[in-house]
Amino acid sequence: MVAVVNARTQAYLILLFGGALVRLAAGNALLRYVRPVARPWVLLAGIGMVVLAVVLLAKAHQSRGSAGSTGGSSFGVPTGWLLLAPVIAIVVVAPPALGSFSANRESSPVAASAAVHKDFAGLTGLAPHRLGLFDFTTRVLWDSARTVSGTDVTLTGFVLSQRNDGFVLARLVITCCAADARPVEVFVRNSTHPPEDAWVAVTGRYAGTDKARPTFPVLAASVVLPVNQPVNPYD
């Protein structure tokens, strides 16, 4: 059966998978898939797998050299082949961060459940204040002190959809990995219409919530600037 993986191939597969993890954890591409706190653990797991694979390769080499028999290495499992799939996905396909496709699919608005912080710190420094979309939306909905009212804020996100009098700005929030991404959305009232999926930094003032959807904040924007996708694309 060709499906059986011999000991050397199994070690190579583990080496590739571990190597792909190390490669991801060493750069910013990791942040397209998981939160920054996962970085040391992914790095450790990757290094551990690479070390294990090297030991296994050395052992396979040794046993071939001494006995000339493959008997001791015929225990490979066929599922080992599957390790190639994520390696190819990471190295060859290198998928981008989730964007409007996922934001449009996930219907549950994060803001309705976001009473994570009851006490909000006051905004310090000079306006405009840089805020995450999640932070801004929870402040709008849950902050009794109204720290975002009457001051300029800057929000960064991607354009989810167009409307006559502006566009919907969105950012995906993840708690563990991209599989649990959910969108936070803010309606930006402005005359500019940047293309869908474009990243923009919007500066403006909080202008109440949408009449049709009370959990949907409106920002009256004075400046809309195109920007590069942030290093961490999620909120």
Binding site: P95, L98, C177
Partner: protein, 330 residues
């Protein structure tokens, strides 16, 4: 068969057929070629989202799998075969709760607990307690409970209910499995007994073998979870959310198909505000016990006939314990 016969047969085999190293190189080349031939198809938003979710699940779970393999290798190599038989109570009635509570000590998610439960079973832990450990380890550990508390501020009852329901689930299924007298079959036993010689040599071959198997199965699960993530229609959730019973069943199905890690499912549940608290508790109790990723891993580790019985039994038991707990506590 003598040593000489074996080696000449192996040499003959090598000469006659493609060996796995050749296949390995061919697969890699095909993948690189496909990248250029199908570049249009690969840039479709749905395909890209699928790939991102697939990679995300694999990368996120990899450290937990590595931890699980480390613990299971340590059990396989360091713990004597008779240890658990001596330490665990003779009667499964007592051994099951002990194993269930022991699962709460290990901070991890469900991907790591499958290899650990398998190595416990290989070291002579009986099926009932091993199953109780398998179910409780990802569900009631401190990391998961803290995450639940953060996701549901102002609802401390949810944390208590989650702990009670998940522990009850592991005990009920553990006892039932113990009573049924069915074994917990662990495949590829031969591979594990292969390793002879020094202890570290045995440890590395066991770890390599278990790692390749567990990661391979995780990848099957990640692929099916990513497929459902990208194709599953969310609109019908709003239709069924209003009714208590259909809401509970919908959340129990959603937990299986989404296969979200037990450390983040509380945040998803918190966001599904259209559902009752009991329905969301069902989501958090079913998820760590039965989901498409776990079914794949259990099928590969314990065999198909185990998974066919275990998954439905656990699903029904999880829905019942969570609904009762929710009714009593929430």
């Amino acid at each position: 068969m003598t040593e000489v016969d074996a080696s000449s047969a192996a040499a003959l085999n090598r000469a006659r057929r493609i060996n796995s190293t050749d296949l390995f190189c061919l697969l890699l080349l095909a993948a690189v070629a496909a990248r250029f031939i199908f570049s249009g198809e690969l840039s479709q938003p749905a395909v890209q989202a699928w790939t991102t979710v697939f990679v995300a699940i694999c990368v996120q779970a990899a450290p937990f799998v590595a931890l699980g393999i480390m613990v299971s290798t340590a059990i396989a190599v360091l713990v004597p075969t008779t240890f658990f038989a001596r330490v665990m109570p003779d009667r499964q009635f007592l051994a099951v709760p002990l194993a269930g509570l022991a699962g709460g000590v290990l901070p991890g998610c469900e991907c790591g607990s499958v290899p650990i439960a398998a190595s416990l079973a290989r070291r002579g832990v009986r099926p009932g307690p091993a199953v109780a450990f398998l179910l409780s380890a990802p569900a009631i550990n401190p990391v998961v409970l803290v995450a639940t508390a953060v996701a549901f501020p102002g609802h401390p009852g949810v944390v208590v209910a989650r702990f009670v329901a998940s522990l009850a689930l592991s005990l009920v299924v553990g006892w039932l499995w113990g009573l049924s007298g069915r074994p917990l079959p662990t495949r590829n036993r031969r591979g594990h007994e292969h390793g002879s010689g020094p202890r570290w040599q045995r440890a590395t071959s066991t770890a390599g073998h278990d790692l390749a198997q567990t990661l391979g199965l995780l990848i099957v699960g990640a692929a099916s979870a990513a497929t459902l993530n990208v194709t599953f229609p969310r609109a019908w959730l709003d239709h069924v959310a209003g009714h208590l019973l259909s809401g509970i069943l919908a959340m129990a199905v959603l937990a299986v198909v989404l296969a979200i890690c037990s450390e983040s499912d509380a945040f998803i549940a918190a966001g599904l505000t259209q559902f009752s608290l009991t329905a969301r508790l069902v989501f958090m109790v079913v998820g760590p016990a039965v989901d498409v990723k776990l079914i794949a891993m259990q099928t590969g580790t314990f065999g198909r006939s185990f998974a066919i019985r275990f998954a439905p039994l656990t699903w029904i038991a999880a829905v019942c314990t969570a609904t009762c707990t929710g009714w009593l506590l929430l």
